[in-house]
């Protein structure tokens, strides 16, 4: 590692990549699924009815009904929020008529209890939501990418942080190692063993390079004061209270509140002003709040648009006593706004449908980058004339981990969806068992890969994953009434899109299985044991 800059960086790239590659692959798979976590949750709660828009009262009447409920349920709240029924681009779904509030904090606390209720938009009565099966949904899958599973939260954050930092390092050093980054982008030499793996790794990595740099750096920023607490701990103090004070200062939220009460001024004029500015049907919600020493406010928010500076969402603010228009204060501080933009980039929370699919594709490329990198490591170190799976015990272990993770983890994710449909609805800890199925399958795949001829293990687990994904639409047809035959004609693209995506994933894994089989096992069947191994490993 001492032969010059490029070599030392290549060394760093190889080892940082290998050490955390499998955990990173897990983070990328679950994180990529997270770009559609609302959609996944929707699919995993098939009891919810297809059409959710209910007949509504007139808007002013609805708001008045909501205020009645808030006065009754939250007489001592720091704020009241009324959400009108609307389609939200942010959560890609229908938002019901609902109220939310946060009680004034008890002495010695920063926040009070929060409450919310969905209301019938015609009568204002509490609306019971359809009971659904217990499921972790897309939310749990997505949360795994930063809090892992089965472990202490803080420990998980640190592990994830170390992996993210090493990936950040692997990317930077990977770019440095690269002599001809632009030329290599157009270079792919298939069927040439190690060379092809390197080309594939290069092409994939360079293709989404800005995404990878952004996603790792912003991942670190999410937990900045957890990972790098020194400045805050020294200048504010290491305890929890100082930490809260720091965040209040950073986000400029140093306000005490008075109990929220029904606005004195007529809301109709405020709403008319919002309509005049934004057009009909654009009002998303009303927030009622009073900072101590100031006039009570009504903040009317517009339906979210897909914008990077999402916190700048359009708002009109009024004095709740007089109805006079007030200037709306900017959100947070310059630093906190910068931080929000960086984290919004990570979450893709501003992304419309096309950009969301691009995020998803970039996430899949991330999985592919890690997978090709891991495979490349083994291909490069396999000695000349050595068959896959016959090297040293360490090599064998790494190869088994590669199969188990690259093919077995996706199988586990498919199993997570199968469990959602097949586990009895009344089983205890049902949501946990869905996740257990994921990890059990991953573990099984590892055990299997340890004892099976590694080439056969690759082909078999890939086929299994292909079948598990491709059969999900069929499983859905047999177990629910929200299947493709119904969702496609109804134009329910969230549900239909999930089924079709699973079919697509199934086909992709099937294609990989055929490729691997053709390269490795078909050659073997020609009964020529002296076949040059370099040819046999053309496309593992």
């Amino acid at each position: 590692m001492k032969e010059g800059f490029r070599q030392s960086m290549a060394w760093l790239h190889t080892w940082t990549g290998l050490v955390v590659g499998w955990v990173l692959f897990f983070m990328f798979v679950t994180g990529t699924a997270g770009y559609f976590h609302y959609e996944i949750t929707r699919w995993m709660e098939p009891e919810r009815p297809l059409v959710e828009a209910l007949p509504t009262a007139e808007r002013a009447q609805m708001i008045s009904l909501a205020l009645d409920q808030l006065e009754q349920r939250a007489p001592n709240a720091a704020n009241w929020d009324i959400t009108l029924p609307h389609y939200s681009p942010l959560s890609r779904g229908w938002q019901d008529f609902s109220i939310r509030w946060e009680d004034l904090p008890e002495p010695g606390h920063d926040h009070g209890a929060r409450g919310n209720a969905t209301l019938n938009p015609l009568t204002g009565e509490h609306l019971e939501s359809t009971p659904v099966r217990a499921t972790g949904g897309g939310e749990l899958l997505y949360e795994m990418h930063y809090r892992l599973h089965y472990m202490d939260l803080l420990l998980a954050y640190y592990l994830v942080g170390i992996c993210t930092l090493l990936m950040f390092m692997a990317i930077i050093t990977g770019v440095i190692t690269h002599k001809k980054i632009f030329k290599d982008f157009f270079t792919f030499r298939p069927g040439k063993g190690q060379r092809s793996w390197l080309d594939a790794h290069n092409v994939i990595s360079v293709m989404a390079l800005p995404f990878f740099i952004m996603i790792t750096y912003s991942g670190l920023v999410f937990f900045d004061t957890t990972y790098m607490p020194t400045s805050m701990a020294v200048l504010y103090g290491p305890d929890r209270e100082s930490r809260d004070q720091y965040f209040d200062d950073l986000y400029a939220q140093n306000h005490d509140h008075q109990a929220a009460r029904r606005p004195q001024a007529p809301l109709s004029e405020m709403l008319a002003s919002a309509d005049a500015a934004w057009g009909e049907g654009q009002v998303k919600s009303l927030l009622i709040q009073q900072d101590t020493g100031e006039a009570p406010r009504v903040e009317i928010s517009r339906i979210d648009v897909n914008e990077l500076r999402w916190y700048d969402g359009e708002k009109q603010v009024f004095n709740a006593d007089t109805g006079e228009a007030l200037p709306s204060a900017p959100y947070g501080t310059p630093t906190s706004r910068t931080r929000q933009v960086i984290t919004a980039l990570h979450e893709g929370r501003f992304a419309g449908p096309w950009l969301r699919w691009l995020y998803f594709a970039a996430g899949l490329l991330g999985c592919a980058m890690i997978a090709t990198g891991l495979v490349l490591w083994t291909v490069k170190r396999r000695k000349q004339h050595e068959l896959p799976g016959t090297g040293s015990i360490n090599m064998r272990l790494i190869e088994a981990l590669n199969v188990a993770t690259i093919a077995g983890l996706p199988l586990g994710v498919a199993g997570y969806f199968w469990a959602n449909r097949l586990l009895p609805v009344d089983i205890a800890e049902r949501a946990n068992w869905e996740a257990n199925v994921l990890f059990l399958l991953w573990g099984e795949a590892f055990l299997y890969a340890c004892f099976r001829d590694i080439r056969k293990a690759w082909v078999e687990i890939l086929w299994l994953a292909a079948a598990a994904f491709a059969l999900i639409p069929l499983l859905n047809l047999l177990t629910t009434d929200k299947h493709l035959g119904l969702t496609l004609p109804a134009g329910e693209w969230v549900l239909a899109g999930f089924d079709l995506s699973m079919l697509g994933l199934g086909i992709a894994f099937g294609w990989m299985a055929i490729k691997v089989r053709r390269r490795w096992l078909a050659n073997e069947r020609k009964a020529n044991p002296t076949t040059h191994p370099a040819r046999m490993e053309k496309s593992a």
Binding site: L12, D224, Y236, T333, T335
Partner: protein, 104 residues
């Protein structure tokens, strides 16, 4: 033959030890140094304190990455350790001097 083997063994042991020491300097030493750098920057940045802390903490990951790269690219291991230790001490002294109240 045995002498040759022994030498190869000690060479490899020495190499491993050197790599371990370098990894330690880069990742642990680098962490300490980048923490101190972000603290120093938070003190120097002429914006409200919470914002300065937020901004310098976000930047500290960049410092960390650069320090690690430097640590792996510097030929002599002694230079790496000395560089990290001396810069850390220097940062610490400046922080001490700049702290409100002239250090605790």
């Amino acid at each position: 033959m045995t002498a040759l083997l022994r030498r190869a063994f000690t060479d490899s042991a020495r190499y491993r030890w050197a790599v371990f020491s370098r990894v330690l300097a880069a990742f642990v030493g680098g962490y300490v140094l980048s923490s101190l750098l972000s603290l120093l920057l938070a003190l120097l940045w002429p914006i409200p304190q919470a914002e300065a802390i937020g901004a310098s903490t976000m930047l500290s990951f960049i410092f960390y990455a650069l320090i690690i790269i430097w640590a792996f690219n510097t030929r002599r291991l002694r230079t790496v350790w000395l560089g990290i230790l001396l810069s850390s001490v220097l940062c610490l002294a400046l922080v001490w001097w700049l702290m409100p109240g002239g250090g605790v």
